[in-house]
Symmetry: D2
């Protein structure tokens, strides 16, 4: 159980921190103000030019595509990526993800943000050479962006068997129909491709075919966003925030036709792909949340020492020190739990870390919400405004109690595996 | 300890519910969509016409200015207001406030929304005849709106003695300087007047004058918003939401001069006024939050019965029923606590209800946050969007953990009074 | 919704407080020391003589059997009981129960303790004249004590249909078999009679008889403890405490034969009786817990002001004042909730207060545990010892999360009724 | 950050588990019943013979004194102890401590129980050759036991500067006076020696001597329990439990005279010794609590699968699976946090792990209480009795929120170090 990053990863972490401290943070305040201004007066979905400048700088510093997994990166690590020519383990990447998590722009400008990393990983693992050439390479180069379309507005998507969208092979085409939402990334003008998940046939036909078990009923297919029949119906706010220029959209697919060559892995393989995709993705999300919580705690401490009320720094009033201590304890525990899950994933793959990945998915957003909420409270009214990055951080963490499966589903997984030790079938 | 409303109040409550159910709710969805559209394409601060229509209907139904307090309403109840010609007690008004709380528009269109009710109450109790004629009457008529400017961005305003703004008498004028924020209401184009609170003299002069104790150092003064030197610097988002067309602003006051006749009660009387102003205001806020929590619980139950996952209605999965039960219990306890505070206020005035008013200020937002958060969670991703009024409700409740004094200050009041029973001086 | 006690009840509450303050509390410390000594050196189940002295004094002061319910007390109120000749409503009795709850001995010496009150109420409502003469009168006189035997060790008794014990009529006898535990009261040497609940026939016969629905399968019968076949197997500790001289026992019943005249109400009527028995009993338990929590908070405050660490009274360290405030808020809310349930019971009977009684059963022990745990903590190690009545209070409150139905069952009732508002069948 | 135990430690852990599973657990139930019987009928402080048998077996299996620390064990490891001839690191010992924690007898019979381990460590590190020969060797041999006397009944001992007991050198003697309580171990008939902590001089003299800073005012001295003037006043219950045959006592010291050679390290050195003593001790306590929580969770799962109510295993009712998941998550986090603290201690000593040791002291008992309380609840009434080891486990965990410093003091340490990062002096 060794959670220490390799020397190379430790060096990359340090360099990531330096990049964020020296390059990103100094422009982040102005970026956010410009974005707010653009919201009032222009098109908030037009990425501000500073983003491309920061991307160039990240690439120049060798801090580009650091998420590339050791196991699957292959030649792409050297061509597009991580300094040193090979990918990183989950344990190695974890502190880097944490370092980026406290910054609004860092994940994006280092080409390390969701959902693109997950989509690129899918292409790395399951893509054909053609798929890789057409979509993976420009994604790795940061030239285009992608979306992941799975959740649907009309059903409880926590139960994947509720899914109603279809991706049915007709001859050499796949016909795609359905309505998806919370499709992260579709707001960005560079977003060109969606990984779409749907039933391989109509529900009636599937019911009638006992040969297809419920884990082989779904297909993943690459759908270019400019395909006829694809319509971004609207962009959705999360607690009032749109997360421009990435955004989360509601997208309809009406008789969209793409070549069968766009199918990932094969018809009915979506579950297997999703399983593999989500493990590392959840590690990344959780480590970024830990970075966010660290940012919030640092701000809470600084505010607590700077502001004075009733003759004392706020930190010395009432239970504030206890809350600071509890925040520190909660962050440490959460980080160790994520490192543990990362290590389990590294040493034994997703099936070895089923409970652990669900554990962090439950524990880390909860922890982050608690810490950030305290930081908001100690900042007074300002903590709820956009003068501080706390309200945005809270919203981010809150969304992760639902994204990639609600808490309750992950608690169910953990409980099932726990009870399984004593003979429970499920 | 009788919490039953009078028959007249029970009738008004019923009529309020009917008005909301039959008139307000049917247009609220469209209102919110139009407002969202206006945000994207126009000026979100321009009130939509339906508001005036609803105001007229509320007035026609005798559901106008129901907040008017029995004790202080005097002739104004008959002239502007509550059906029946006199004001209501806090216990009587409480269920009406609750009924309005679940609706986005009801408080506004019934002329029962903060901060106007608090400002009108101050004018009722402390206003001169001139002040009443000039400001109170158009406010009661719903022709203009008002703001309350107390909190400051540069200090911990939870400690009122930190206040730095000044309202100094020079001859027959008051010179007003300072910067305020979270000035609710300044976004509305009809907002004409601010109740401003500031030091009666420079901090240095006050320090040098031992004759003025710290509870007589502040003055409240009426400042028309079109006075030279008043500038609305910006409107502030709360968790990403601007609460149009009311809004919360940051306002600077630079050498603003108003007649001494605009002072409320007298120089140095601000604390006494604030004390009286805040008791009923907190009752109103808390009862509206209870209405909000009831709305959230109803939606959670309906969603829990309608949506199906893993073969069952969501309500029957995992701990959802326990959470529904806990929400019901929490709401009941919160309502009873507010009624108790209202009753204490009615029978003995603000000094009789110091602890009770602080108790509800701590307990009710906490409860509402818990209930609404559960409702968001059971709605899945949609719960965080603006498809449901839950994210807005959460934000509203969260802000009330800070507005009118943060939790920690109110806990301090409750603890001081508790320890005082055993001889603690403070 | 009027929670004010009648003037007579208010007077009885005052007199109860005076009795406890002037008579009971002065001897309670020595009583507990003597009991501890008797535990080490003698028979802890022998009631100490002071109990009879206090009973006599309570009776002399007219503070005897105050629990007698207005609705059912009839002639017995005048003959055995409450000063003034009639019983009290639940709202009237609530503050008296609270006053007794903070004292170890008061409920016992005022003949107001569980399970005797519940058993006496059953006899009042369902007893024949013979049953009343034989058992109710000596119980009301405080000459004998009683037990209630329902829970069984070998099944999950939270589901009453799991019950395995039987009480089968054979000719003019009832044959009683089974094993019960948590039979409160059986430790007392004066305990003479058990209210026993069992299946009216063997499970097989009941299964075979579709005419008997599951709410008419159980019978309640009076079983004298000296009947052949009744054996107190052992007395059970609760968190290490035996609660002498009352005690909670495991009792086996082997072919015990009692006359059919001992059946209460009739064969198969146990559910109906239990329903009525438990409503008021839960009010009493909960109000006593509130008294216990008030006692704990008072001790926490006094300790917080008296003890000094790091140069300050403990109350002024860290979050202690916040915890004191939260305790005050929690107690107020809990008391109001119980009064609300009592009022609902008074105005509409048990069916009118199903949710409310379950609400308090969940909320009040939780609250009490929180408050008492804080009081233990602020007392340091001593708080866990028997130098203070806190460890005993905690244990008492903890047991009430299970006694009379675990939290989870009561949450289920509240949720069922809540969801029923929206059409859920169950 | 490597938390993996050495191969030798992993082997010892396995052998410990086998010893407990095969030897200790099979006799534990009977042991507890015999102890309960002895409580009723004899002297509960007389250790039952099985303890010596188990000690012999533990020694024979090389599972004796495994706590001996690598750094300080020296020759004693080979002579008295850990299989292999040298001590273990904290990381190595952690899983062994966890394995023993779920068993009532294992720590005692493996000579690994508090307070003896802490006292032996003090002797190892600070003892003279004479002190070691006289006290350390028989302790290591398991022939005698020891106590640690620090906390005092009359002051808030959370602030060590409140201590009033004295240990003053007069010529070649130390005169010891004072009253201590929660002196763990004094109940055991083999307890021969107390490590006593007291002021090196009268408070007045110390006040008058500015040369002695507040961290050099206390002395630790070895006081044989048979010294004239030592009196065990009483044994204290914790939540009703006496923890026989170890026990926690109140002990008075009246003009007790011991040779100066009994001073540990030197006059005024007590703080330095205590600092070193408590780090590993807290690791041990916390790891044992994790073992206790694992035991409770296993029992909760088994019970949840075995018992049926409302037609389902309890585990499938309501929120029970969520609670099982949360328990698993909480245990994992707690274990990782303790391993982290152990690792920090191993790589940098106590000063390197100040915050981490305080973190676990706060987090682990909280976690254990939550898990055990759930296990009690799912066991119904039996969970509170002594039919299951849960009530004892809860009490054990509750005591550790106070023993070795209350939560609040440790939260203070964590917060001080956290705020120190941003310049706070203290």
């Amino acid at each position: 159980m060794d959670f220490a990053p390799s020397p190379r990863a430790a060096d990359l972490t340090e360099r990531t921190r330096a990049f964020i401290r020296d390059v990103v943070e100094p422009v982040e305040g102005e970026y956010l103000r410009d974005l707010a201004e653009q919201r009032r007066t222009g098109d908030p979905w037009r990425p501000l030019p500073v983003i491309e400048e920061l991307k160039a700088e990240a690439r120049a510093r060798g801090l580009w595509n650091l998420w590339l997994p050791k196991e699957h990166a292959g030649e792409y690590a050297a061509r597009f990526g991580t300094d040193g020519g090979e990918g990183l383990t989950n344990v190695d990447y974890a502190p880097i993800a944490e370092a980026t998590g406290g910054s609004h722009l860092a994940p994006l400008v280092m080409n390390c943000n969701a959902p693109d990393t997950g989509n690129m990983e899918v292409l790395l693992r399951y893509g054909t050479d053609e798929q890789k050439a057409q979509w993976l390479e420009p994604l790795l180069a940061g030239e285009i962006r992608s979306a992941f379309t799975m959740t649907e507005p009309d059903v409880a998507s926590s139960d994947a068997t509720n899914m109603a969208a279809t991706a049915v092979v007709h001859g050499d085409e796949v016909v795609v129909n359905g309505r998806k939402w919370w499709s992260t990334g579709v707001g960005h003008p560079d977003c060109r491709i969606a990984v779409f998940m749907g039933l391989r046939d109509t529900p009636e036909n599937l019911e009638a075919d006992p040969g297809i078990d419920r884990h082989h009923r779904h297909t993943m297919v690459l759908v270019p966003l400019d395909s006829p029949g694809v319509k971004i119906e609207r962009l959705l706010p999360t607690m009032g925030m749109y997360d421009e220029p990435i955004g989360h959209g509601e997208v309809s697919f009406t008789d969209v036709r793409v070549p069968v060559g766009n199918i990932l892995s094969g018809p009915g393989e979506a579950f297997a792909i999703a399983q593999g995709r989500l493990g590392p993705g959840r590690i990344h999300h959780c480590m970024r949340l830990i970075g966010l919580a660290e940012m919030a705690l640092e701000r809470a401490c600084r505010r607590g020492l700077d502001r004075v009320a009733f003759g004392k720094p706020l930190a010395n009033l009432g239970g504030n020190r206890e809350r600071i201590a509890d925040a520190r304890i909660a962050i440490e525990q959460a980080r160790l739990l994520v490192l543990h899950a990362a290590w389990k994933l590294d040493v034994g793959g997703p099936l070895n870390a089923l409970s652990e990945v669900s554990q962090i998915k439950v524990a880390v957003p909860r922890m982050a919400l608690e810490v950030i909420d305290f930081a908001m409270q100690i900042h007074g009214g300002g903590g709820l405004s956009d003068d501080h990055p706390l309200a945005g951080a809270w919203t981010n963490a809150r969304a992760l109690r639902l994204a990639d499966g609600p808490d309750e589903v992950h608690q169910g997984v953990v409980a099932r595996l726990e009870l399984g030790k004593y003979g429970a079938k499920r």
